[in-house]
Subunit: 333 residues, 4 copies
């Protein structure tokens, strides 16, 4: 039985606590938050759960094996470092850290202490992303051409990070998981309109072999969109995460270039066949992910969404930030 | 009665001829195309219409007042120049020319000869774009924040121009018409996958006063999308050109920043009210545009979609091309 | 402080308990269910809540002021009757009873005892239905022409009642609330395919002044549909309850008949204007309804969704059953 | 080469003429219409085509082999009868005739004269209906449960026939083609609101083996809907004719009833798998149908959409009319 302390009970923390309490392999030891209102909410829902406003209590407790860090990004490094130094495994919110340097320090520390870091890229545990990965791995799409994601809605404006660091980590981690290649360069553009933080941004990531990825994030959209197009040589797909059913539609569509009779003549032929919406697993992704965390802690296996994976996303965010500040200059990775 | 010769009877030419024949103020004098098959199609539909494979016949004919140039971009300059030199008004397909330099030469020539150039940016004559312009002009949206357009579908691959020059002229001309400001810089990214021409591209255009525009064009999308989001301080709108009715939806939604009680504290408040889909005029845009061309030729007034407007679009395309080649370097305009 | 006992903790009961516990004006005294598993679920979520498998305990308890009956229809009459006889107010699931006769007996009993009966027609408390009623009352739609509702999905098959008694009560109660007229006749058709209970059914209700209502209910549909069209002389609306936003769309569309020049000639003119999606209150309907129940109990006012309203729905269901059995014979009301 | 005369050049006639002229196996001999404006439209589009206001000219011409009757229903019988008596094959608009008796007389006459009658049920030649028929024939859906079609929009009000005779023939002919069984009884309800003709109607058709069909037709709907649900034992499908692509979606969904451990206990299990949208042929249905007519005339084979098929639809319409007049009384067929 793994004992876990949860630090942070704001927007996402309650989901972590609820799911952990539903798992037999662990118990929630205590919840920490600096806000008295948050602690009252804990007490109301779980009268039996110890609460504290002081993270050190959890971090130094001998009875706690692991810590879930569900706080603003700027606090991640300090909290995770303290947890690791105290011998605790760490489950931590995305984005992993504020800088690549911080990420590397944590990775190195965990390795030395033989501890597990898992970065909460929840989408990687959804039925939809799992199914797309499966389709790519089995070659159904053929060579990838592009990955193009739109993730826009009205708000929620963050006070500390831009829309880049708020929304794009989802797309960057999914892209990293699906494309499975080392990005070459990042170009980002964007603009701030209200509180000085960028609220509309567009990121391009160049990959080897002509694969291009693009992410459109926006806090000022009147409509909510969560749509990703993925184009491949053999098939193409659309993933609309707002669809109740039929989240993924796979199109038997494509283009073929042939040499025509003339010397420089290209014949383009289009293929347009059936569309197919595979059934997608509907279980709660966060539950699966936390179960996987417990399994990794128990067995010592390295999770695929470990600190290194989290660090790759932070590196792309840093590059995007820099590119955006320099109006689109390509930042090599 | 204005007499018009039409050069080019491929994909778009038949629409030009059909609409011109429906207008009382003009007559189609002749149609020119190099392809015998195209000329046969003309003869079949309009047995009375003279055809020729030689553009010079039209360009030098004393009976022709104006010429519609509906040919591939690379031929625009030569044909338009010859037409102007022969004293003929010019209605010309988008994009106006292959280079800004060509555009400027044609503009200067037309001015000297006192002739009209109109660039066929058909979308500017649709009920939807007219209505959006009206909403912006009357201040319904407030200060503009962003313009974000997605124009993707499968094919049609062009043999001579990339997806940038094929699809983006629509968006760039609409953006130019709606934002009514001088763009500052263009950043473009993209990739070629099949015939060496870029088939997926993303363009950002920075405007003064924090207005940012973005265009997503793609020939390799399994689904057709024609959606533009426009965000303003007071209202936001979505224009979906594929909707039969309700092409434009105006959202009474917004975000407001207020100073909170603390020194650096920002209070964000969201406004979410009614949605409204104004009725949009359904008449054929090309017919209205051609009628306007005849009117400009007759009265001598300068069309708003003249060579200068066409040149602004070409300038952005050139900049986008250059930026894309240099992997996102911002090209100042 | 009103003390309430809840009988039935299956599919809907948990929502009743959760909402009652969120209301300051009452306390949940105890929960009753015959299933030990259900009682375990209560204990898990609310360790402080007394449970029992015996409804008599609640019905005879001197400390309980009111009872919520959230059990299968066939048990409604016995439980409600016992509650009223014991001097308790009754909040009861739809449909109110299995027969009109039962409904009338309960109404009469409540009246004699001066107790409140409220039938849980939750939809009448949604922002959408409230807004439609408002539009009708203020005359925005003009004279009503028709009400046409489709409520179909896969399952959930009930073991005791047909799709008519399961899904149609929603539509019949909404229709009763919106049309506000006495129905004249009911015609129903339908078919049973699996367990002997009708799983596909179509109901027509004739109202005075040429108003016609139609309900399409189906347990065997591959897709979920919750759409109602309401046609009026001045405007028409579509209510799609599955839309996250924009549940109601009001169309400024209509048809007008004028006498033409000839004796028998009718000129039809169509009007097609803007569409408008009014913002709809998003609060939980059941919470509002339970608050209203407590208010009615406290003040003694008669709820608009009282036993009489519930009885009107039961009467239509009975008539529909009879009509369906007799293959569409019109049953007068 | 078959020579065809076309009688009626209103809404649908131009499509008949255009398609016939595109077929090599026939020539259009002449077009007849009583309206001078209609004849002017013919002359404008086809200067070479003889026109007349007098149908007798066509009907008695020795050079004409077949006649297409594209006039209002009330004129069908007289025109078709005269054509057959003059030895001409007949292609005739839906609905075939105003009464079953008329239909039978024409069928008998054609048989005696050894002539072909084809009723224009165009939908039977669309890729969508063909594909659905294929799916049913190969057993993909299993035993059919229901057929439920909604065909509503604003107008076009007819002056001579109700919405039943205007819109329902489409559904009734498709249903006849797909279900391939003899209907047992028809129940219809509906109402007239404007010009005395029923503008909203609902038809139920009972078939053997518990198959039930339902048609919802409405001239007073603010939105256009063309959706049919078909439920089968093994699979279910939705046909949305307004979708550009993906007109048909086949759902691997179903319900199974098993006996539970107890005597009377039924266990319901739901199956929910992939969705699949087969590619649907996009060729123009009317062209295929007219080609088939020419083939039948040439070879003498009896078309599947012959007078007998047309008569079955008329019989259901008559029954629906009668049922509607008697407020839903089931009319046996």
């Amino acid at each position: 039985m793994i004992s876990i302390g949860v630090i942070g009970y704001g927007y996402w923390g309650p989901n972590i606590v609820r799911n952990l309490r539903g798992l037999d392999e662990c118990q929630v030891a205590a919840v920490c938050d600096q806000s008295p209102a948050a602690l009252r909410r804990v007490a109301q829902t779980y009268p039996d759960l110890p609460v504290t406003a002081n993270p050190s209590e959890l971090l130094s407790s001998a009875e706690i094996d692991a810590v879930a860090v569900v706080t603003p990004v700027c606090t991640h490094f300090e909290l995770a470092k303290a947890a690791l130094e105290n011998g605790k495994h760490v489950f931590i919110e995305k984005p992993f850290t504020s800088t690549t340097r911080q990420a590397e320090e944590l990775i190195e520390l965990a390795e030395r202490k033989n501890l597990t870091i898992m970065v909460d890229h929840t989408f990687l545990f959804t039925g939809a992303v799992r199914k797309i990965r499966e389709l790519i791995e089995e070659g159904a799409l053929g060579d990838l051409y592009y990955y193009d994601s739109t993730r826009v809605n009205l708000g929620l404006f963050q006070h500390d990070v831009s829309v880049l660091w708020d929304l794009a980590p989802h797309d960057l981690s999914i892209m990293d998981f699906l494309i499975q290649a080392k990005p070459e360069a990042v170009i980002a553009t964007g603009e701030a309109h209200l509180n000085g933080l960028v609220d509309v941004a567009f990121i391009t990531v160049y990959f080897p072999r002509n694969v291009i990825a693009h992410v459109n994030v926006n806090w000022l959209s009147p409509v909510k969109v969560r749509t990703t197009l993925i184009g491949g040589e053999k098939k193409m797909l659309v993933w609309n995460d707002l669809e109740a059913d039929e989240k993924i539609k796979v199109y038997d569509k494509g283009v073929q270039m042939n040499n025509g009779p003339g010397l420089y003549e290209l014949l383009v032929s289009y293929r347009s066949g059936d569309m197919w919406a595979p059934r997608v697993e509907q279980t709660e992704a966060l539950k699966a992910e936390l179960g996987y965390f417990l399994e990794c802690v128990t067995t010592g296996q390295t999770p695929f969404n470990d600190g290194v994976a989290g660090s790759r996303v932070v590196k792309m965010l840093e590059a995007a930030d820099q590119s955006l500040r320099e109006r689109g200059r390509a930042v090599r990775l």
